[in-house]
Structures are given as C-alpha cells and as structure tokens.
C-alpha cells in the first residue's frame, strides 16, 4: 500500500519534470514546475522529512515559482511582440548523456542504500548530543548548533545572490508598477491574509525548536505576505536603499556573527552559542532577513515604499 502511494508520487514527479522541460509554452512550464515542487513536498512527507516538505512547499515551489513568473513577465514586457521561445537545440548526444547521467545517479544511490550503516556516523552523534542543546527537533539542532557555520554562510549566499541580482538590475529603469488593487475586496482580503502570514511564520519559527519548522520556512511564508502586498500595489518598488531596509536585510548575518564571535572572547570555539535564547534570537533575525531578501528579489528593486490605497 505504502509502496503504491510512493510509486504514484514518483510517477507524478517524473511526468511533471518532463512536462516542465518539454511542455508547450513557457508559462505552462512554470506552472508544471510549481506543481512539481508541491509534489516534491508530498515526496518529502512520504520520506519522513516534514521539515523539508514545509521548506519545499514554501521556498522550492512558492518563492521559486513567483520569481520565475515575475521574470517571465519582465521578458514579455520588454518585447511584447517577439515569439516567446527560441527553438530547441538538436543534439544527438543529449539522450545518451542523459541516460549515462541517470545510470550514474542510480548506481550511486543503489550502492548507498545497500551499504551497511556505520554505527558511529554523524546522524547518530546528532541524536546522542541533541539533549545538550535544549532543542528537540534534530534538524534545527544541526542547522543552528552542530553545523551552524553552514547556516551562517547560507544566509550570506542568499544576501550575495540578492546583491548580485541588484547589480545586474542597477542601471535598469524600474519595472512598471503592477495595477493598483482598487477592487473593493482586495483590501479586506489583505487585512485577513497578511496578518495570517505573520502569525503562521511566527508559529513556524517558534515551532522549529521541537517540531517541523524553522527560520527558513518562516521567512518564506512571511515573504509570501510581502509578495501579496506588492501584487496588490500596497508596496511599490523604490530605488535607493534606506537604512530601514538595509539593516533588516543584514540583521540575520549580523546577529549570528556578533553572537558567534562574542562567544570566542570567552574562550569558546567559533560560533558556539551561549544558550537556547541565542538560537531563538538568531532564528528571528534570520527570518526577517530572509523574508525581506526574498520580497526584494521579487520586486527586483533595492527598496520598497508604502502606497496608501
């Protein structure tokens, strides 16, 4: 029974991936890709990884899909009359190379599945030492305590990607503002949904210590609220980066490195955290930074300004 469900999900993933690659229009491809991401979330849930399911649904499918759609809209706005898609390349080697790559992955994976587990491997060490951290979600434990250098640099990569995207867009005129949300229902709907996204993201953030959730999932949900405000015209892209934008943007990196380095003064190793409060503080700061970075990436601008309806 379980295997039947897994097979269906697997079949769906393969079919959706194929559709995304070879579907008729680019828009259709994006839709297929988003559905692929949501199906990935199902697959993660089936593999017993609810943290990944949350992250995939919010970040993998939601944010990536939104970014792709807004990029496609910019392409169409630049040259509305051009044929959207260039022809595919014809390559005799494509199929053999793809088959070889697939078999390579299969051999590695099947080899890894059949190997006997080392008794002292890292995953076991995580579970053995988790109680000391005060966290009961082992994934948050790995991300914030055991391998937190990875997480620090991950936030740095996100910031670097945003700054690089900004540099690419720098001398470009602002994309025309999306239509203002003048429909009577938009305001009422925003008044419900936006507070709800804040509530859900704070819940995900706090839940991260003992059940699935964490700063990244929370940041992505919060970003969804921001994207909604942009789509409804309540927030408009603006040029220039005021301190009120720049500070939250680097807050996660700043709080994380300051706490991590300050602990070194007391003789602790790099990025050793003083306690559970530090984990919460860092996660909250990271959530704000991640959400703002994702929203600004969506807006394609260095700042935002409020627009009263």
């Amino acid at each position: 029974m379980n295997l039947a469900v897994d097979s269906l999900i697997g079949l769906g993933l393969v079919a959706l991936a194929w559709q995304a690659i070879s579907g008729r229009s680019l828009f259709r491809g994006i839709v297929m890709f988003v559905v692929f991401g949501l199906t990935m979330a199902l697959a993660w849930a089936r593999m017993g990884a609810p943290d990944l399911a949350l992250a995939e649904a919010a970040i993998g499918a939601g944010v990536t899909g939104a970014l792709m759609l807004v990029a496609l809209r910019r392409l169409v706005q630049l040259h509305p009359d051009q044929p959207a898609e260039p022809k595919r390349a014809r390559s005799r080697l494509a199929l053999p190379i793809a088959l070889l790559a697939a078999s390579l992955v299969a051999v590695i994976g099947l080899g890894a599945v059949s190997v006997d587990r080392e008794p002292g491997r890292a995953g076991v060490a995580v579970m053995d030492n988790l109680a000391e951290t005060g966290l009961s979600n082992p994934i948050t434990g790995v991300l914030l305590v055991f391998r937190n250098l990875d997480t620090l640099l991950e936030v740095a990569v996100l910031l670097a990607a945003f700054l690089a995207a900004l540099a690419v867009f720098r001398d470009q005129e602002q994309a025309p503002a999306p239509p203002r949300g003048d429909l009577p229902l938009v305001g009422a709907l925003l008044a419900i949904i936006v507070p709800l996204t804040i509530l859900v993201s704070v819940h995900l953030l706090l839940a991260g210590s003992h059940e699935p959730g964490g700063a990244f999932q929370a940041g992505a949900v919060l970003a969804a609220g921001g994207v909604l405000l942009i789509l409804a015209g309540r927030l408009q892209p603006a040029s220039g980066m005021p301190l009120a934008t720049a500070l939250p943007l680097v807050l996660g990196l700043l709080v994380f490195s300051v706490i991590g380095l300050a602990m070194m003064l007391t003789g602790a190793p790099l990025l050793a955290l003083p306690g559970l409060w530090a984990v919460y503080l860092i996660e909250a700061a990271m959530m704000i930074s991640i959400a703002l970075t994702l929203v600004l990436l969506f807006a394609g601008a260095s700042g935002l300004r409020r627009e009263r309806p």
Binding site: D6, G10, L26, L78, E85, A89, S91, A112, A122, L158
Partner: protein
C-alpha cells in the same frame, strides 16, 4: 522493493530528465527548470539513500538538503536576473548566437 530503492530510481530518472532538458532547451528559463530538477533529484538521493536511523529518518542529510534548497533558490534568483538582463541587451533569452543553431 523498498521505498528507498523506489525514490533512488525516481531520483535517477529526474536527474536524467534534467540533464536532457539542460542540453536541448532553447530558452534559458527551461534550462533553469532543468537545473532545478537536477538539484531536486540529488536532494531526493541524499535523503533516500541515507536510510533511517532507529526507525526515524536521519536528521543530518535533511539539514544539508534544507540548506541546499535555500542555496538553490538564491542561485535561481540570480540566474533569472541575469536572464532578464541578457534579454534586455540582446533581445533573446538563449545562449545560441543565431536562432535554432546547433551549439
């Protein structure tokens, strides 16, 4: 056949589709789909092949994959910005010098 083996096979198929798409895709957006699909295939591989730990899934590969998902979206966002800029400058969003040409 266990679920782990099944998901390893799915990962292999997805990776193959990703590589194929990356080679044949004309539009850069399609190449981005392909790269993301390849990435997802490797994520599945890491979690499925790591196997359970006392009945529960191993947390370490999951944490690594979580990091990977965020890095993937960062790289995709930057790539999309580059694509829009390329389109703005050259009027096409592909890597071919002339439309439909091989390589």
């Amino acid at each position: 056949m266990s679920s782990a083996v099944l998901f390893v096979i799915v990962a292999a198929l997805l990776f193959g589709i990703g590589v194929y798409g990356l080679i044949i895709a004309g539009h850069l957006l399609r190449k981005l789909f392909a790269i993301n699909i390849m990435g997802n295939a490797i994520f599945i591989l890491m979690v499925a092949a790591s196997g359970p730990l006392d009945g529960k899934p191993d947390a370490l590969p999951q944490a690594l994959v979580l990091t990977g998902i965020v890095i993937a979206v960062s790289a995709t966002a930057f790539a999309l910005a580059l694509m829009v800029r390329l389109y703005q400058l050259t009027g096409q969003a592909s890597l071919h010098n002339n439309e439909g040409g091989d390589d």
